[in-house]
């Protein structure tokens, strides 16, 4: 496949093995400039390994990668200055305050965002004079985001940025990301929260067993799976269900040929995003019902 635009990030056939076992197994991925892309998958799906390879922190065993046009394994400081990274683990924090930390790290960038603006952007204004070690986990995470944004990166990697945060901190984090997105920064985000991917991302890639099993905008995720409706009604003292992509046709048939025209207990439901996701990652609590089969 040839694309006319050079994507911010392009991955073909990425493979990474640990002890002979492939944790990333032939992964393909394109992220366009300016896009917010979420890699969604359960723990152990290969999200973090993939992202760390893209950041140039881990070596790969196979495949081709271009991150901002450069192979991360050969990325120099000029390249590194163009990306921002928030890793999965946040350290315990040191004895420097939020403001001291940000002021210090301006020395590392050719151009830096204003410290006060950064602090405000991540909602730490009230904690600007607090030492990092005394911040809450969510606040430390936001300090990391501020640091990752400081050098005005073109591409930002966020590895499970909200894992372990309470719901309020998560929402604050989301609003920080939405501000970033409106600034035109390309973002690759990993998460195992479906609502987070749906809320933040332009496109979602579902990763399972080290491969992308689906890539789509959040509302189109699951493709045909998503279009299967379940028509359910009561008949002969029990419930009957039909799984179909054309519920209107089924209903018309039922209304004309069924034993009762009022169809007691009738419901037509589409699978939720979560059900689709669970099917995609093979952890379906909902059985994969073949289309058109009466149960």
């Amino acid at each position: 496949m040839t694309t006319q635009i050079e994507p911010a990030l392009r991955v073909r056939g990425l493979v990474k093995r640990y002890g002979g076992r492939a944790v990333v197994d032939g992964l393909d991925l394109d992220v366009q400039a300016g896009e917010v892309f979420a890699l969604l998958g359960p723990n152990g799906a290969g999200k973090t390994t993939t992202v760390e390879i893209l950041e140039g922190l881990r070596r790969r065993d196979g495949g081709e990668i271009r991150v901002l046009g450069t192979d991360p394994a050969a990325g120099d400081r000029t390249w590194r200055a163009r990306i921002g990274v928030v890793g999965q683990t946040t350290g315990d924090g040191n004895a420097l305050t939020v403001r001291e930390t940000l002021d210090h790290f301006t020395a590392y960038h050719p151009r830096s965002e204003d410290t006060d603006e950064l602090i405000a952007a991540v909602g730490l204004t009230d904690s600007a004079g607090t030492r990092a070690a005394r911040l809450s986990g969510g606040q430390r995470r936001r300090l990391e985001v501020a640091l990752s944004m400081q050098g005005r990166p073109e591409l930002l990697f966020l590895d499970e940025p909200t894992t372990g945060l309470d719901p309020v901190a998560r929402r604050q984090f989301w609003s920080v990301l939405q501000r970033l997105r409106s600034g035109g920064t390309t973002v690759l985000l990993t998460t195992h929260y479906l609502d987070e991917a749906a809320h933040l991302a332009d496109r979602v890639g579902v990763i399972d067993g080290g491969r992308l099993v689906d890539v789509a905008p959040p509302d189109e995720m699951g493709g045909e799976l998503r279009l299967r409706s379940t028509v359910r009604w009561r008949e002969d003292g029990g419930f009957r269900t039909v799984v179909t992509t054309e519920p209107a046709v089924v209903l018309r048939d039922l209304l004309t040929t069924g034993p009762r025209a009022d169809l007691p207990g009738l419901t037509v439901t589409r699978p939720s995003l979560e059900e689709v996701y669970l099917q995609l990652v093979g952890a379906a609590s909902v059985e994969r019902a073949p289309e058109g089969v009466l149960r």
Binding site: L57, H104, A107, H109, P110, R111
Partner: protein, 282 residues
């Protein structure tokens, strides 16, 4: 849309000034390293109080005694304590601090920013030079006031003091960085490095008169920098005639410079080959 995207990406890439050099970042790091050091009560108390307390204990226990040809114990041990102090603020402080920085996530951050390792080394070395100078100043002041230990008498002795201390600081700093990949967690580093340092102090003539130690102990000590640092410091604080009491019968300045210099080089080589921002891969 597509065309402008390419233009923007390329423009922004070309637009970017080059990242700041290692020296500029290194100078910023000296300031931040000092600030972090001063905010670590454990480090400050240990590196400043420990040598002074040692001096007070040795002064109380051995005060007034002599060793060798008319050498006061206070003077003899001050040399050893000054050398130990240099090892504390360089090797020990650096080795333990790096393990802690790794656990706090500080080193991971530096890696993600593409920090040149040289900038990190400049920051550490600068911090160690400043803290060691402060510590030695405190120690010599207490020694002069409380025990009448004479300060180096002439420019030649100050010069010796300077180069011995500087080589000791450099060797200690690079060796502290060099051992950091091998010491494990911060807790393990603290126990391991401190334990090693204490044993080395016993072997190197800090707690006992070196010439009176068993020969095998002297030979083991001669491999490591502390023995030479201690001997160099004795040549500063003891009268010239005391050189006769040394194992070699002289201060061996040439050999001292050689051994300390060799350790600096060994440390640098090990750092270059093994230093990692993170444990494990990368």
């Amino acid at each position: 849309m597509t065309a402008t995207t390419v233009v923007r990406t390329v423009d922004r890439a070309l637009d970017r000034p080059a990242p700041p050099g290692a020296l500029r970042i290194g100078l910023a790091r000296i300031a931040i390293e000092l600030r972090l050091y001063l905010r670590d009560p454990g480090q400050v108390v240990f590196s400043f109080a420990y040598p002074v307390i040692m001096l007070l204990i040795f002064g109380s226990v051995f005060g007034g005694g002599t060793t060798g040809p008319d050498v006061r114990f206070e003077d003899y041990f001050l040399a050893g304590i000054a050398a130990t102090g240099i090892m504390l603020t360089s090797f020990q402080a650096v080795g333990i601090a790096i393990a802690e920085e790794r656990e706090r996530g500080d080193l991971g951050r530096l890696q993600l920013l593409g920090t040149p390792p040289a900038a990190y080394v400049v920051g550490k070395a600068g911090q160690v030079v400043v803290t060691t100078a402060a510590q030695l100043a405190l120690l010599l002041t207490v020694a002069a006031l409380a025990y009448d230990v004479p300060l180096p008498a002439d420019a030649g002795r100050w010069l010796t003091f300077g180069w011995v201390a500087l080589l000791g600081v450099l060797a200690g700093t690079v060796l502290g960085i060099a051992v950091s990949p091998f010491v494990g967690s911060a807790r393990a580093a603290s126990a391991g490095i401190t334990g090693f340092s204490v044993v080395l102090q016993f072997f190197s003539g800090v707690f006992f008169v070196f010439a009176e130690l068993p020969p095998w102990m002297q030979q083991v000590a001669a491999v490591f920098p502390l023995k030479w640092l201690t001997q160099g410091m004795r040549s500063v604080f003891l009268p010239d005639r005391a050189a006769a009491g040394e194992v070699a019968g002289s201060w061996e300045h040439g050999r001292t410079a050689l051994v300390l210099g060799a350790w600096v080089i060994i440390g640098v080589v090990v750092c270059v080959r093994t230093f990692r921002w993170r444990r494990g891969e990368g």
